[in-house]
Symmetry: C2
Subunit: 199 residues, 2 copies
């Protein structure tokens, strides 16, 4: 088999989040009929790996084997240099079961204060994995570097966006309009790599 995604291939997205699936369909220019792991009633595997690509791969692999379809999964998060890469793969977990990112951002601020950190360098990573059932998998990673700022600014985006200013910019991801953010985001960079590799 060749590692190409032919237009029209039915893909299962390893998420239970319908909004995320719609976003992916758009990014993939609606060339692929998408279904989600949630719609198929698949279990979500535990994210036991220590890296973004490892967890994306684990989720894609599980969805591919359970569904018999080509599966796409993502894993992403914020890494802070002065916190040795934390929250990293635990980015979502820092927001708690209520997905409270105001809480998560204040945890980052508190940890930086405790560490008496002068260096606010940080980066977002997005890992994507595409797995063929019983076959190979392809993984890519996109990254955007920047610096943290407190207090949070801007109501756009999601997650840690309001405290992240990308390199060379003045606005946080939470303040930028979606087009400007999409032109440089870790997610956009990962999808550009995936498309270059597979389309």
């Amino acid at each position: 088999m060749a590692l190409k995604l032919e237009p029209g291939t039915r893909l299962v997205v390893a998420t239970h989040n319908a909004g995320k699936a719609r976003e992916l369909a758009e990014i993939l220019e609606n060339r692929f009929p998408l279904t989600t792991a949630g719609e198929l009633g698949l279990d979500e595997p535990d994210e036991t790996e220590t890296t973004f690509v490892g967890n994306a791969l684990l989720k894609a692999r599980a969805a591919a084997e359970a569904s018999g379809l080509v599966a796409l999964a993502d894993d992403s998060g914020l890494s802070v240099a002065a916190l040795e890469g934390a929250p990293g793969i635990y980015s979502a977990r820092w927001a708690g079961p209520g997905r409270d990112f105001t809480l998560a951002m204040s945890k980052v601020e508190l940890r930086l204060e405790e560490a008496n950190a002068q260096d606010f360098a940080a980066w977002f990573t997005c890992a994507l994995a595409v797995a063929w059932p019983g076959g190979p998998a392809v993984v890519v990673e996109g990254r955007v570097d920047g610096a943290l700022t407190f207090p949070p600014r801007g109501a756009r985006g999601f997650g840690y966006d309001p405290i992240f200013v990308p390199e060379g910019g003045a606005q946080t991801f939470g303040e930028m309009n979606p087009e400007a953010k999409d032109a440089m985001s870790h997610r956009a960079r990962a999808f550009a790599k995936l498309k270059a590799a597979l389309l």
Copy 2:
């Protein structure tokens, strides 16, 4: 970029073991000039992931980024059903720093006795990863199912081969001639998948 390995592409193998690199060169039919992470003086990363593919990917990615070359890495081991998949990714570590697999095999036997196990089902897994510097990576996994037998039999092969009888066979991997083992081994299956995907 297309996910193809053009003949003549210089590959770095993420190992410090020259014997392993020679074996890989043969498996790849000497179509690629190989160098090793050891020859290039690269550090070996900690194998922090929880899966074979995760660790193969981590090693390939590290070697690719450090060398600027396309990198190939493997990770493999024995999983025992009655031991919940142990030794798994710790297969080499059970042999200790002296790489004493007689010791490792007796640990497996002891653990099965302690668990009063009646089920001796086991499987070998081989994960392979190819990573492009700054780019995507491809992972594949090969597996062979079988059952354990004690005491160990046969002086061929390596690692846990003398206690593993593949499904449908009577001899252990340690007793089989290399051609017979290569026709069904986890390693051969993983390389067949990798070649189908990339060559």
